[in-house]
Amino acid sequence: MAKDITKILVTGPFAAGKTTLIRFVSSEQLLSKDVKATDGLARFKAMTTVGLDFGILHVDETLDVHLFGTPGQSRFNFMWKVLSRGALGTIFLVDSSSQRAIDEGKKMYQYYRNKADTPIIIGATHRDKEGAHDLDTLADELGAENANIIPCDPREKEDSKTLVLALLQEVIESEVGGEQEEWVDDFELM
């Protein structure tokens, strides 16, 4: 029997935790090439991903989810459009303690919001670092005032799972959002 394959995109500027998230939610990780950062990013992060991260989550015998992580540097932006095509949704990770990452993230976020017609959930990472922006400020700086932003640490497996679950919930809501929701009268407190 042919398998259904669906795709989730994990994106965001450098050093946000994309590789880590994909590692936690994949059954197998096929591609990821971390190399020593040599440009201006070297003082923020020793190793960085070139090419792309790719992991597969085997859901069951008839369904796989392909998780694509885009490289975080803007010089790879030619890949954003290709990778976002046909995705179920996008997880957008951003280091909320780095002004440089947020500035870079704004361009990326606007790109995905305008070009990719799929739900996006934002994960605000590095919340434990000094200077981490609060969610309201982060939303303003990304130009994401109406987006759902979830504080998270992708190094924690449960946080990584939460982001994927939240994205899937957004997908469900975007599917049924145009319809009249059921109203249940007996959902009453005693």
């Binding site: 979830i150 319809e179 005693m190």
Partner: protein, 233 residues
């Protein structure tokens, strides 16, 4: 003019009246909520297109409404034909209202008045327990995520905790939420986000969500299978 009404047992005042507020907000009603306190005092709150107004009578009434159980409560639609185009917020967050013939029911603003009042109220221990027991008896729920940081609510962390817990458990109930309370969150913080989520209809019975989803079966079927798999990881 139409009315929704709940009446509690006079011997046992309840929080059933929160259902009236929930309905008025969700259905973007315009009119007023009148309720009777245990001291037989009648209090009135004004609403426009599902938003509580910021006049002092409404704000004080809301404080009482959320803090104490009550006996009877009803919502009266007085001016159902208000268009959101005819609504303007002044600098001091009060509202200008003009009635017109248009029947648009679009909500005008986030629930700032509700969140501001919730930020300030406190419950007696006995009332907290009553609210906890009431919420615990609700059937399994889904919790909806919204950008709470724009609503002026100052405890987004507890709401996120509720949301995350609901995502991870297919049969999540509010009793589970209380049972798994982390030490850094108080019972009052939990009850507050439940009152907020309940009144804004962000907490819904699971059965209602499933009925809606049936209509979009294939794609949603795939998404639900992935959801279940992720929960198991």
């Amino acid at each position: 003019m139409s009315e929704d009404e709940v009446i509690s047992d006079k011997k046992k005042p309840s929080f059933k009246h929160l259902g009236i507020l929930r309905q008025a907000i969700s259905k973007a009603h315009t009119g007023n909520i009148r309720y009777e306190t245990v001291e037989n005092e009648e209090i009135k709150m004004n609403m426009l297109l599902g938003n509580l107004l910021s006049d002092s009578m409404t704000v004080n009434g809301l404080k009482n409404f959320l803090t104490f159980p009550c006996i009877g409560c009803k919502f009266t639609v007085e001016c159902a034909e208000v268009n959101s185009d005819d609504v303007a917020f002044n600098v001091d967050n009060t509202l200008n209202i003009q009635c017109s013939g248009d029947d648009s029911q679009e909500a005008a603003a986030p629930p700032i008045v509700l969140t501001r009042v919730l930020n300030t109220i406190h419950w007696e221990d006995e009332v907290l327990i009553q609210l906890k027991e009431s919420f615990s008896q609700l059937p399994p729920v889904d919790v909806k995520m919204v950008p709470m940081h724009h609503y002026g609510y100052n405890d987004t962390l507890t709401y996120l905790t509720l949301y995350q817990a609901s995502l991870k458990d297919k049969g999540f109930t509010l009793a589970n939420f209380f049972d798994e309370r982390p030490s850094y969150i108080s019972l009052e913080q939990q009850v507050k986000v439940l009152v907020l989520g309940y009144c804004l209809d962000l907490i819904k019975p699971k059965a209602a969500t499933k009925k809606t989803q049936k209509k979009n079966s294939r794609r949603l079927g795939i998404v639900n299978r992935i959801l279940n798999k992720i929960r198991e990881i």
